[in-house]
Amino acid sequence: MNRIFAYIEHKGGVADDSAAELIAAARKLDPSASPVAIAIGLGPELDSVCESLRAGYAEVWKIANDALAYPNAELVRQALVKVLPAGSIVLVPHTHFGLDLAPGLSIKLNAAYVPDILAIEPLAGNSLRLVRQEFGGQLSAHVTCDISTGAVISVRPGAFKPEPSAATGQIVDKSSEVGSLSARRRYLETVVAEAGEVDITKHALLVSIGRGIQEQDNVAIAEDLAQALGAAVSCSRPVVDAKWLEKSRQVGSSGKTVKPKVYMALGISGSFQHLAGLKGNPFIIAVNKNAKAPIFQVADIGIVDDILEFIPALTEKAREGAKAGAAEA
């Protein structure tokens, strides 16, 4: 099988969690594989990332270039195309960056592309069998991929559990092979989302609402519950799209990443993009009218009920509980 490369995302000198996950993915692809990490960037931050990757990857290719100080997918692609051997298999995390990079990369490498996969297994005859989800996670699909001319595979973050690896790798500096890079897309700046008054990333318990809350006026019901529990209200994307809550409350791949102890998913179907914002393995309690909602596959506790009825009932219980507690105290 061809060489397997793992594209490493990093920020502030620290490699993303996906770096370890990609090793696991590579192993599923080819148990004997020794994937090569590729880290692209500039300066001491890049160096420290490469250093940390040595524990896990047998080989770490470092590509440093002024133009790559900020990961611009157009430029990254140019760089990768220059250094990757023909027929390589490239694993990329399916993130906002991976989405941007992978499709075009597959074309330029003349490789196949399979996006957002959850599972891989090798098949005979230079092909792979992978699992993807469709229709908002309601169904899964098996796909085959012909890897005879290589493949770019984007991997769903969190789909593969990192495995310990004993390898201690070498850093290979590939910067000189890249040459000059120019892109017709130029990074200007990043605008950080406004903090808002509530920082959901700081709460141990989140009362999170989804489309099931149905309308703006019902958000108050969730606020009541949050108040009774000393929690904060967060939400999934549809609630923000409908402008019922500000963006700062959104949990998900395009919102905030949160690491609460307990996460109440109320009227949330459990789409991947939303769950992507949940880290640290919180205790998930899900309430949803639809018994088949995908959230029940990841939740610890599941309740099939109408959240518009359930939430007020729980609020009342919490208030009673608080009173009882206060009385005892």
């Binding site: 309308e215 703006q216 006026d217 108050a220 019901i221 409908a242 109408d306 518009l308 007020p312």
Partner: protein
């Protein structure tokens, strides 16, 4: 005495006075005609409106609502005042016109001896003028001191014109004064025509006051009064078309041409058949000229009394809608862009101009405004036309787009599968007691038209089941259309999506015809209204409350007493059962037939029932409001001393139960549907075990 008058009049006065008198009239009349022509101009450019049919019905309306001032006593204080003023004006009308002739200075010489009728008329008019004069004073005091809330102009709608109102009232007072002064000075001036003014009338008082003046002065006063009267008369005549007083002229026509058909909505274009709609360039009202001439006449006729907005539930909830200002802003637009003096302006978009989108979407079409308006101004047709225009331009709130799309593809606003439409009847416990047949292949006597919310909303399905059980208990041969039933389209039409409505209507009509049903029963007043008024060639339609009432009277259905007789019930009249279809008594009859049921009436009941928040698509719209209409209604029920609200409409149930939750009043208030209640209280044959599902759902 004859000689006295001619000797007494300074000859130098007569000619100038006469010239003045005639000039005022000529000029005033000419100006008035010009003004009216200018006011008619936009009406002539406006859309057609077929209002010339059924003259006898129209005349009856004129007699009842115009002459009879039928709506006025709904606000007793202002109502009585206005009836007096109106009566006075009618009485004085003839007098005013005659004065324009006999008021000619110097004509006193040629007057004939008044007959008995004229004499009586003279007395009546003297009192009339007095009463009107007094009413003017009361009106001014009311406006300046008591300031009724509904006259206030909230800042977002513009500025009030209180000075203008006072000015007009003052002018009318002056007119009355001039009239009385003329009458007062007449007996002295003309022996022939002279007769004492009616005792204690204003004229009589003035007569006393001027009695002692010299003959020459009296002649001067008489002439002066005549000139003053003519001036005031013509000034008012020409001034009225510039403000709310125009209703004095337009009211008769406005009432004559008023809408005759309740519960329905005007076609997209009068005179354009449904088949030809595709050729219409633009749907709805986007600019002023898209209104029909009758709607423009409505704008002219608005007296700015504020009764509509005062009672409008959307307004009470703090939505940006105030019906009064829909009229006044349009009227001001007309005055500004089609001025009497000046050129007519280019057309401007109304929505985004004088109206905001939210304002137009906020209306639940409850009809309270139309019920209150003494001039029979219509609002729902205008709102629907404005919505048609917005839909045509693609300006639809995002929250409404999904249900509209779902209605198009699935025939219900929830996007649920058609084949699941009859699942409510498949509930195991229910199906064991009551078989509901689906009329695909099967036929039945009676069609139970369920409609979307009752079919798909899990809470509301119990109303469907209760209704079916009632029909069953009465031995009716009934069935449902099942998957072939589409949403009645009632709100689709009223939200301006006419073509989608027509598609739904046609599909339902075909299915209903195929079912062979000879009558239709429904528990949904919106479906009831649609089938009755929007659909054509339908078999007779009844609401379940009418059905139950009749069956109780016939003895087919018997109701047993309540287990808990301590509860106090308030019946909430649904807009589309009550106000639009005037079915107030049957539901009450049914409730009163339940032994032990204590019932109270809310202050706003019957044709003043306060809309719960709206049905159909309105459930998907998110208005900007300070408080929900349902919440206000639940508070009204509590105020009336009730702890149970009875509704007869699934949408009312949704809104009321929602409101109970939102206000946290679950322990103090509950809601039950009429059908659910009757179903529970039905006295059934002893061998039929009934455990109506409605019980645990509601209590």
């Amino acid at each position: 005495m004859q000689g006295l008058s001619s000797a007494a009049q300074p000859s130098s006065w007569v000619l100038p006075a006469q010239v003045l008198f005639v000039s005022i009239q000529a000029f005033g009349l000419a100006l008035f005609c010009y003004i009216v022509k200018q006011r008619l101009a936009p009406m002539l450019r406006a859309e057609r409106d077929f209002r010339f049919d059924r003259p006898w019905q129209r005349i009856q309306n004129v007699l009842q609502y115009w002459l009879g001032q039928w709506k006025h006593p709904r606000y007793p204080g202002a109502g009585i005042l206005h009836i007096l003023i109106f009566a006075g004006f009618i009485v004085l009308a003839i007098r005013s016109f005659t004065l324009l002739v006999v008021g000619m200075p110097g004509s006193a010489d040629y007057a004939a001896e008044p007959g008995l009728l004229a004499h009586l008329y003279g007395l009546v008019t003297d009192y009339a003028a007095t009463i009107v004069f007094l009413c003017m004073i009361v009106a001014v005091v009311r406006r300046m001191v008591f300031k009724p809330a509904r006259y206030a102009v909230p800042p977002q709608y513009g500025q009030g014109h209180p000075a203008d109102a006072i000015f007009l009232l003052g002018l009318i007072a002056i007119l009355m004064f001039a009239d009385s002064l003329f009458a007062a000075s007449e007996p002295v001036v003309s022996q022939a025509r002279g007769e004492a003014p009616a005792a204690l009338s204003l004229a009589w008082l003035l007569n006393l006051a001027i009695g002692s003046t010299s003959a020459a002065s009296l002649w001067g006063i008489h002439t002066g009064a005549s000139i003053l009267h003519a001036s005031a008369f013509y000034f008012l005549l020409c001034y009225r078309p510039f403000g709310i007083q125009f209703h004095v002229e337009t009211s008769l026509f406005n009432v004559y041409f008023a809408r005759l058909d309740r519960g329905t909505v005007k076609p997209v274009r009068w005179g354009v058949s449904e088949a030809d709609l595709d050729n219409v360039q633009s749907f709805g009202v986007k600019k002023f000229e898209d209104f029909t001439w009758k709607h423009i006449l409505d704008f002219y006729s608005c007296a700015d009394c504020g009764r509509c907005s005062d009672k409008c539930p959307a307004n009470a909830a703090g939505r940006p809608l105030s019906p009064r200002f829909l009229s006044i802003k349009a009227r001001d637009y007309a005055f500004h862009h089609f001025p009497v003096f000046g050129k007519a302006d280019n057309s401007h978009a109304l929505v985004g101009g004088i109206y905001s989108e939210d304002e137009i979407w906020s209306c639940t079409t409850c009809g309270q405004c139309e019920e209150e308006c003494p001039l029979l101004i219509e609002y729902i047709n205008k709102i629907v036309d404005l919505r048609r225009g917005m839909i045509d331009d693609g300006k639809v709130p995002q929250t409404l787009q999904k249900p509209l799309k779902a209605l198009e593809s699935r025939g219900n606003p929830y996007g649920k599968l058609e084949k699941k439409r009859a699942d409510w009847a498949k509930n195991k416990e229910f199906a064991a007691q009551c078989q509901v047949k689906t009329l695909d292949g099967d036929t039945a006597d009676t069609l139970f038209f369920v409609d979307s919310v009752t079919s798909y909303d899990d809470r509301i399905q119990s109303i469907g089941r209760a209704t079916a059980r009632i029909l069953d208990a009465a031995g009716t041969d009934f069935g449902i259309l099942g998957a072939a039933e589409k949403d009645s389209g009632h709100e689709v039409r009223r939200f301006g999506e006419e073509l989608l409505f027509l598609a739904l209507r046609d599909e339902n009509t075909a299915a209903i015809k195929e079912s062979g049903a000879k009558r239709i029963v429904t528990a949904d007043p919106h479906a009831f209204n649609a089938l009755r008024h929007d659909y054509k060639d339908m078999p007779p339609i009844e609401h379940i409350s009418q059905f139950i009432a009749r069956e109780i009277k016939q003895g087919t259905l018997k109701l047993q007493g309540l287990e808990d007789a301590t509860k106090v019930y308030a019946y909430h009249d649904p807009c589309y059962l009550g106000r639009h279809n005037q079915i107030y008594d049957e539901p009450r009859f049914v409730l009163d037939a339940i032994p032990g049921l204590k019932r109270v009436e809310m202050a706003r009941c019957r044709d003043r029932s306060f809309c719960c928040g709206g049905g159909g698509l309105m459930l998907f719209y998110e208005p900007k409001e300070s408080e929900r209409m349902g919440v206000l209604r639940v508070k009204m029920a509590a105020e009336a001393g009730a702890n149970v609200i009875i509704t007869a409409c699934p949408f009312c149930m949704v809104n009321i139960e929602d409101a109970i939750k939102v206000t946290g009043m679950e322990l103090k208030m509950s809601a039950i549907d009429l059908a659910e209640l009757v179903d529970r209280q039905l006295l059934r044959a002893p061998n039929v075990r009934e455990v109506p599902i409605a019980v645990e759902a509601v209590w």
